[in-house]
Every structure is written in structure tokens, then in C-alpha cells.
Symmetry: C2
């Protein structure tokens, strides 16, 4: 039996849902606008996308998106389509054109969102997945249990390499596990990549030699391909243990090539995710989206955080984090590490742990660490202690009675 | 004086617009969520994004997008921001993280759309732009004046290489200028790329030897980088004159690398454009989007077509086409060729010509050519004749009196 690709959608349509489903299936496979003699029943059976499931959910009297066929009623459905892999082969870019191509523009559609994806084993043979994943990251960062406690260099841009290194010095002295560049920090003339890496790694390496603990620093290598490779090589040469890339900025080919070249974990940033997802009736859910990037090689994937400073509700954050931890497919789990960030403190530890059921994650806090009256070390300790409490099921207030740093933190975390 | 990047947005916000603008500027440059001692006035002056313009357009009592700060009134504005190029250097991927990164997710935003982009000359020094553009395409296709008359191989997928070549045989015999693969057609086992190219080019080359006219065929090379390069090389070796790539599927790095490798014009498909644009209160206008891809090297860019089968209104199609023909910047025009498609016939020729003021374009029709009762040659002739009429300002009906193919076409085009 041929392998098939399955994708699910939330669909809203002003026409008969069965017709809309068939139009989408046709547009994304063998269909044509005007019926042509070449589109034989045999060809359709072989290459046509199949409507596997179509469940009406509810109805609305106004369309979510404009430009569709007008109607008095708009039906919302859960739609599942499938394609034979022979249509495109196990190719991530061509998969993307198929599951998320022209269909969003159809007039038979007044709302369409890609909600799920199930891929056959051929894709796991064609793509490597994360080279390090959870275990490899833990080993490199020297963190056996619990989350990696992390932070982001701020201000995002504007610091010189030396100022950046100075901030890193404070952080590694404070026992941090993980530090990342801001996604806006690349290789600008005020803070050239090479100088930044050298200055930062000098600090990280010195500390590692003295204490045996080497903080993982995700240097943002985002750029053209040669630049990314060269930057990766410099990070390697300087003893660094992680590179970071902005997925929407480099694209699938960029990620795949970076993975092929890289000997370090790839920290994947999702900047731009908002334009793909913030209209609930259009675009992408995180689950199918992150699957493509994990196949291409992402080791860590950003998922925002509970009670974040952005507009994403908590249930969406949790669904995203669970999808990163779920297997890509039973034959090839390719598990990656979710990265929680944005307005995070130890106050979110217990809820985060309860929601995802493990601590295989990176928890980054900015103000939640730097704002600690006892300094950065106390900030790191407090966040780590909040996770000890979360994992052991101890209420924060009780844990705080045994730990001064946490107790102080509870006074300013909110 | 330092070079600056300027981007304009349509912004809707539930807070004071000036505050929202400052939050966006901060988030996308030196700003932090919690004010930090490192963010000095000097640093902000050097690296902060600047609010250049903020004009209130109108107000609404409901937010366009959910998840923002709630309010009784939502103000809509035209916002212009600028950044010093020192923040990211002339790098397309890092530019993308900056102008279209986290900002869409802000709670101070209930609607945000990137509407325009102005780049300094450094970007034209760092990126090549289209290698062929309008002139190079005309030369290779042997079409000095008027549009390239084109079509798409249909059914999209399902035809074998031989069946594809058979369709091409009819088309080149009919005098077509341009043929493209469907964006769903890649390198699947039912229609392997190599066999398809060999079969199609055999037909195209034979016709060219006999008649001197070589139709341009855009073979869809979309895939991983090595695959794209190898496929490009095969097209070259077989005497082909164009390759096609799906931009959203390969990403900016993929496009840049393809451009570096390619010795042929790159036909750029925008499949997936709907999820970037169909919510008018979110995402991207075509003008800034296509500018990035032209800098990276796109020679032809899809812009849909007037009275298309999709949901896009005509004014948006025209704006898109004009943006492709407009200079990327005065110092480096990098003009590319807009590609009109979807439900197209000769009936759209005059309006298209009137709207964009030139015929430097590719006009592709499927049913509008294949549906001609006189056959494909008559279909091609009718569409070309409709353009002659458009350019000469002659009404179609009058032109039809001098041309049988056009006269017949007017009976089935609608």
C-alpha cells in the first residue's frame, strides 16, 4: 500500500462543506479549475487528494475572512485530507507547497487553518531530525535533571561585544545553564558576531575551567548560508556549544543546510510566528508547523510561556509545548526541547510542569532573574528552586521557607 | 549619516497609539519588557528604532484580532518606523526578523500589517537581485514586445513525463511563449524530475531547431538545496531556459543560494501567500514581501490576475503587479516580471494593460487557451491578439473582426 500524508484543517465555508472539501482537495492535487480531458478517473484515483473526514462543528452568519463566496450561512468543519506520497516524494519544501499552498486563497474558503499533520516513515528516512535533542542538550549543558535555567541578553541590540561579555560574566558566575542572543542580534557593525563570540566564550571558558560548568550559549547565526556556516565554525572553534537560527527568516532550505553543517544543537527561534497564527481563522497551528522544523533539524523550539507578555493564551502555549515533546512519528520520535520565555519567573514553574508532565525544557527569564535584589546568582537559584518545588509537588511558599533566594524572589515576581 | 531602514505598518491598538508605537519600536530594537540599567539614553539613541510617523486613520469599537489589551476603542493608524542599519547589517534574514518578527504578537496590538519597506543602498550591494529580469527573460524567450503568452501544465500532478511532454508538444506547436510546471509538481516517483525534463526538452528543442522559436519552460526545482542545484544543472544541460521555485517553501536562504548557483531566470511562485495576507488586519502586503525576494534574486513573481478564481480583489492584484515593476530602490531598480494567472483569458488583457501601463509581464491562461474550439494554436493566437488590441487601444470586438481565432475565443471566454 502506498504511503499517505494526512493533514487536518479547521475550515469555514460559504458553500456546501463537501463541495468545499473537494475543491480544496482538487486544488492541492490533480484538480483543475475547468475540467480537462486529461484528468481521468484513473489519474484522480492515483494522484488526487482524498477527503478522509469532514465533521461539521458549527455555523456562523458572517464569514471570518473576506473575499469568499457570499452566503447566508458559513459552516465550520474539521476536515482531514490525505495525499499519496508519490505526488511530491518525501520532500519538506514540496510538502509545504501541498499542505499549505494556494488553498488559503480559495473563494470556497472563508476561514482555513492547518491544525495537524501525520507523515509516513519516508520523511524520517529523508530528513535527519534534531542531532542533539533533549539528551544531547542535557549532556552539553551539564544539566542531568530539571529544566535548563536560561536567560536572554538584553537590551536586544545596542550592547558592544565587551558589554555583552560583561553581562555573560555575571550570569555564568550566577550559575546559569543557558544564555541566548536576542533574535534581533546578528552581525551588525556595533556588535560584530566574531568579536561577540570571542568575548563571550572567553568568559564562559574561563568559568568552565575553574568550575567544570560550561553554560550553553546560543549564538544567533541567522544570515545567508555561507555566513551561518562560517559563524557556526567560529562558535565551534571558540568552544561554544549551541547556535541559534530564526526559522521564518532562513526558511526550510536554510534550516536543512544548517543542520547538515552543524556539529552543535540548533536553537530554533520562531520570530514572525504571529503573522502565521494570530488570526485564529487563518494560517497555522503550532503542532504541524514545528513538525517540519524538527524533521529539518531543530533541537530547541520556542513556545512562548504561561502568562506571557504577548497575546497568546495559555492553552495555546501548552499545546505548542506538548507538540514539541510528542514524537514526530512512532518510528522516529525526534523529540526536541521546548523553550519557555516571555515574562517568565518561578511563578510559572508548577503550572508549566503540571501541564507538560516533564522538565525536559529550557525556561528563560529576564527580569525574573536580573531583577532579584540579591543579584543574578540569587535570581538563578530562585528560579531553579521554584522548579525543585514544582517537581516535588511542594507549594512555593513552603519551599521558600527553606530557601532565602526563593523567599526574596517571591517578593518581586508577579 | 547612518543608513536607515524604513518600514510602514497598518496598526490597530487598544492603547494610546503613541505608546503602542513606542512598544513596537522597543520590542524590535533595543527595548526590554522591564527597564534595565543597561538601556542607557545613548544606547537608545544609537540602536533604538524610531517612530517616524504616526497618523490616526479611524477608530473601531471592536478589536480585529483577539488577545490584545482590551479597550472601549481601538485606534487604527499608519505607522512608520526606522532602524539604523547597524542593528543588523545588510542581511535579508536579519531584516526579516526585525521588520516582521515578534511584533505581531504584542498585546498592544489588535491588528498589524506590514505595508511598505524602504531599504538603503547597502542591501543592493549585499544582494544580487534578478540575474535576468525583464530584458533577459525577453531575450531567452524570444519575445521582443508584448507579454509572454503562457500556460501551466494541468492536471497539476498525475501526468507521467510522456503525458506531460505530449501536452507540451501541443503547446509549442501552437506557438506558446512560456510554460510552467504546477507548483505541486516536484520530483515524485510518478513523474520524476529528470525524466520529465528530458521528455519535455526533447519536444521543445526539436521545435526550436525546426522553427527558431524556443518556448521558455519553468521547471519546478523546489526541494532541498542539493536537489535544486542538481535539477537546475539538468535543465541547463538539456537546453532549458528557466527554473521555478516556491518561495515560502524554500525560504530566503534557499532562494539566495539558488540565485547564486543559477544560470537561468528564476520563476518565483508564491504558494502559501494566502496565509500571509488573507486577513487584512494581519501579516504582509505584497509590496514589502516581494522586495525581499527580488533582492534575493527572483526574476518573475506571481501576482494572481484580474477577476481571478481566488479571493483576492482586483485592486490588490494591481498593487502587487505595480510593486514588482517598481524599482527596489532608485540606485538599484532590480525590476522583475509580474506573472498573471488564475482564470485568465484575453478578456483581462485591456484592463491589465491599462492598470500597469506596460506589457512587461507573463500572462498565463489554462482553460482560456486549451478550451478554444480551434485548438491550442488558436487559443494562443487569440490571447496574443487580445493583447495587440489592448496595446493599440482597439476594442476586443473590433479586433475580433480582423481575427478569426479571437472572434471564436470571444464566444467561450467569460
Amino acid at each position: 500500500m502506498t504511503e499517505r500524508i494526512h493533514a487536518t484543517y479547521w475550515l469555514e465555508t460559504g458553500v456546501d462543506p463537501q463541495l468545499a472539501a473537494e475543491v480544496i482537495a482538487g486544488e492541492q492535487s490533480s484538480g483543475t479549475f475547468i475540467a480537462l480531458p486529461n484528468e481521468t478517473p484513473e489519474l484522480k484515483a492515483r494522484s488526487g487528494a482524498r477527503v478522509e473526514r469532514l465533521d461539521v462543528l458549527d455555523r456562523a452568519d458572517r464569514p471570518s475572512l473576506q473575499g469568499g463566496i457570499e452566503s447566508k450561512v458559513y459552516t465550520r468543519c474539521a476536515l482531514e485530507l490525505s495525499w499519496p506520497i508519490e505526488n511530491m516524494g518525501p520532500s519538506l519544501p514540496n510538502l509545504m507547497s501541498t499542505i499549505a499552498g494556494n488553498l488559503f486563497e480559495l473563494r470556497q474558503v472563508s476561514g482555513l487553518r492547518l491544525t495537524g499533520l501525520r507523515l509516513p516513515p519516508s520523511f524520517a528516512k529523508a530528513y535527519p531530525g534534531p542531532a542533539f535533542g533533549i539528551e544531547g542538550t542535557r549532556k552539553l549543558a551539564g544539566v542531568e535533571h530539571g529544566p535548563l535555567i536560561g536567560t536572554i541578553i538584553k537590551p536586544s541590540v545596542g550592547l558592544s561585544p565587551e558589554e555583552t561579555a560583561q553581562q555573560v560574566r555575571e550570569l555564568v558566575a550566577g550559575g546559569i545553564d543557558f544564555i541566548k542572543d536576542d533574535e534581533l542580534q546578528g552581525d551588525g557593525p556595533h556588535c560584530p558576531f566574531d568579536e561577540r563570540v570571542r568575548a563571550v566564550m572567553r568568559v564562559v571558558n574561563e568559568h568552565a575551567e575553574r568550575t567544570g560548568k560550561k553554560a550553553m550559549v546560543a549564538f544567533n547565526v541567522t544570515g545567508d548560508l555561507d555566513q551561518m556556516k562560517r559563524r557556526h565554525d567560529l562558535v565551534m572553534a571558540e568552544g561554544g556549544t549551541c547556535v541559534m537560527a530564526v526559522l521564518n527568516s532562513i526558511g526550510l532550505v536554510g534550516m536543512h543546510e544548517l543542520r547538515r553543517h552543524s556539529q552543535l544543537p540548533i536553537h530554533a527561534h520562531r520570530a514572525g510566528w504571529g503573522y502565521l497564527s494570530r488570526s485564529p481563522e487563518l494560517g497555522w497551528d503550532y503542532a504541524p508547523w514545528q513538525m517540519l522544523w524538527r524533521l529539518a533539524g531543530a533541537d530547541h523550539l520556542h513556545v512562548n510561556g504561561l502568562r506571557n507578555k504577548f497575546s497568546e493564551p495559555d492553552d495555546s502555549v501548552i499545546a505548542a509545548a506538548r507538540s514539541v515533546l510528542a514524537p514526530v512519528m512512532p518510528e522516529a520520535p525526534m523529540r526536541a526541547m521546548p523553550v519557555f520565555s516571555s515574562g517568565q519567573t518561578g511563578l510559572q514553574a508548577a503550572d508549566t510542569y503540571a501541564a507538560i508532565g516533564c522538565a525536559d525544557l529550557i525556561h528563560t527569564a529576564g527580569g525574573g532573574i536580573f531583577g532579584h535584589p540579591g543579584g543574578v546568582a540569587a535570581g538563578v537559584e530562585a528560579l531553579r528552586e521554584a522548579w525543585v518545588a514544582a517537581i516535588e509537588g511542594v507549594p512555593l511558599e513552603r519551599q521558600a521557607e527553606r530557601n532565602v533566594a526563593l523567599k526574596t524572589a517571591l517578593g518581586f515576581w508577579k
